[in-house]
């Protein structure tokens, strides 16, 4: 019969090592799949799609008069394909250039609206303010407005938008 731990100190040490090893093995064997499940979103590729916004000529754009145009991305998220409705703010500048902003505040993502009398985009949450070129003119936002990645169709009039912002290395927003 094997000796009990009280009879032999080395036997006691051996038992403790075995208990520790078994706990470690079971712990690691469980932790690995759990970590995989929890960290899984980090290894997923984002589903990036092109979506038609519409024709610029239909918008009746005037300089310094932003138009809010909804765009509906069909995007795969997890196990389902969902519609993500988002606002595209189309701004025509004085020189005729077009800018496609998101109406998300770059501070913490609240929805912005345009105040014609002040010529500013205003965030209702923490008072962030942006001018018509998207630059921060007040409040806590750390960077200018996000711009959607966009392209023109063959007719140079139809615009396509991607569910992705320009100059946004950390993929914030959306």
């Amino acid at each position: 019969m094997a000796k009990s731990s009280e009879e032999s100190p080395s036997r006691r040490t051996f038992m403790m090592v075995v208990i520790g090893l078994i706990s470690t093995v079971i712990g690691i064997a469980l932790a690995v799949p759990i970590l995989g499940v929890v960290l899984n979103p980090l290894f997923r590729k984002r589903d990036i799609v092109w979506t038609k916004l519409g024709k610029i000529s239909d918008l009746n754009l005037k300089p310094l008069d932003p138009k809010f145009v909804p765009v509906y991305f069909r995007v795969k998220e997890g196990w389902s394909v969902n519609t993500l409705p988002r606002q595209v703010v189309v701004v025509k500048q004085v020189n005729g250039d077009l800018l496609f902003f998101s109406n998300q505040c770059t501070h913490l993502g609240c929805p912005l609206h345009w105040i014609p009398a002040r010529q500013k985009f205003l965030c209702p949450c923490h008072g962030g303010m942006f001018n018509i070129t998207g630059q921060v003119v007040g409040g806590p936002p750390p960077r200018p407005l996000y711009q959607w990645v966009h392209k023109f169709g063959k007719d140079k009039d139809t615009v396509y938008i991607q569910n992705k912002f320009k100059d946004n290395p950390k993929d914030r927003g959306i």
Binding site: E77, G78, L84, L108, C110, L122, P124, C125, G127, R172
Partner: protein, 368 residues
């Protein structure tokens, strides 16, 4: 008959003795009412678990459906409004009483040696309960929930080094999606309640191990000096936990429960409108306990400073609270004999109240 049943258990496991040992704990006598706060919290948590379990009979954690499921519970399920109301107002009351409980412990110096671990376990419980409140708020699936998820996710994204990863893990991707709701749901109904259920017994076990050591008031008749460790081992008078202290606990529990119930029936849980990702002007209203933090987000403008409001100030504040027993290591317990701690505590509470009040005001500048 009852005696026979009792004997049956006693012969086998000595049940009466176990119960007597549990109930016979001696509790300091004078501060009896102040000591009911902890047990009323345990009571409220139990109510939260029970109501929460039965809300799950109808709730669906899926973004387009969640809000309507909650609406259905409130307006179409018999007494569903009461169950939902108790769950909401019970949560609010719980957070409010935790704050009073913490203030009581702080001002009476009850976190001092040998009770440091007691305070830390309590802080863990407090943090977890606040996150439970926030996640519960997100699960309603209404307009507030949608924008709060986005805002808090962006707050998380400003954590140094791991912010971007943290945000994606919590959200289950870069967009707020089905997975986001599912993650929040799992955290709210399983992960955090289990943490609370594990830490409450530790909190209780530590009280029994460290002994009374309560408020200075309990040791008025002691002739020993404050620096003497022995002084804090024998309060002037004690009473058994059952029924003397338990009786007070039950009276307070009834009072608190009545308030929660009346609020649940007559005020109820507001469901709010469906979420609209296309909104042009919407500011989510934080719950009252989060307003102070929310107010903080308006300060520290500009790149590079945003980290102060989203990460540094709240986390340093929390770290100081966590480490309190190790920062204040004097032996003095009476709030009148340690004016610095008392005054700082009052100032901190006033700051919290002030930030909460101005945080509750409408935030949007005039929209012309």
């Amino acid at each position: 008959m009852f005696k026979q049943i009792q004997n049956w258990f006693d012969e086998r496991i000595g049940l009466t003795k176990v119960i007597e040992e549990f109930n016979g704990e001696r509790i300091p006598r004078r501060g009896g009412w102040a000591y009911t706060l902890g047990s009323v919290l345990a009571f409220l948590f139990t109510v939260q678990v029970v109501t929460g379990i039965f809300l799950l009979f109808y709730y669906v954690p899926y973004f387009p459906i969640a809000r309507n499921a909650t609406y259905f519970i409130k307006h179409h399920v018999i007494f569903g409004n009461i169950l939902l109301g108790i769950h909401l107002w019970g949560a609010f009351t719980m957070i409010f009483i935790i704050l009073i409980h913490m203030a009581r412990v702080y001002f009476s110096g009850a976190y001092k040696k040998p009770r440091e671990m007691q305070w830390i376990v309590g802080m863990v419980l407090f943090s977890v309960v606040v996150v439970l409140g926030l996640t519960g708020y997100m699960l309603v699936g209404n307009e507030n929930s949608w924008w709060t998820i986005n805002v808090l996710d962006n707050v998380a994204s400003h954590t140094p080094f791991i912010g971007g990863f943290l945000r994606i893990i919590v959200k289950g991707g870069t967009e707020t999606s089905v997975l986001t709701m599912q993650h929040i749901f799992a955290v709210h109904v399983w992960l955090l309640p289990i943490v609370v259920i594990m830490f409450i017994p530790i909190h209780l076990f530590l009280i029994r191990k460290t002994g009374h050591q309560g408020m200075a008031l309990e040791y008025k008749n002691s002739k020993l000096s404050d620096d003497d460790e022995k002084k804090w081992q024998h309060p002037d008078g004690t009473v058994p936990f059952f029924p003397d202290q338990f009786y007070k606990d039950m009276i307070v529990a009834l009072g608190v429960f009545a308030v929660v119930y009346i609020l649940a029936v007559y005020v109820g849980a507001p469901i709010g409108p469906m979420y609209r990702p296309l909104a042009l002007n919407f500011a989510p209203e934080a719950d009252w306990y989060f307003l102070a933090n929310e107010e903080l987000l308006k300060y520290f403008p500009g790149h590079g400073l945003i980290i102060f409001s989203t990460f540094l100030v709240p986390s340093i504040g929390f770290a100081i609270l966590f480490a309190l027993p190790f920062i204040d290591r004097t032996k003095e317990r009476s709030p009148f004999k340690r004016p610095a701690a008392t005054v700082l505590g009052i100032l901190f509470l006033l700051l919290l109240v002030y930030l909460t009040l101005i945080g509750g005001e409408p935030k949007a500048p005039a929209t012309v």
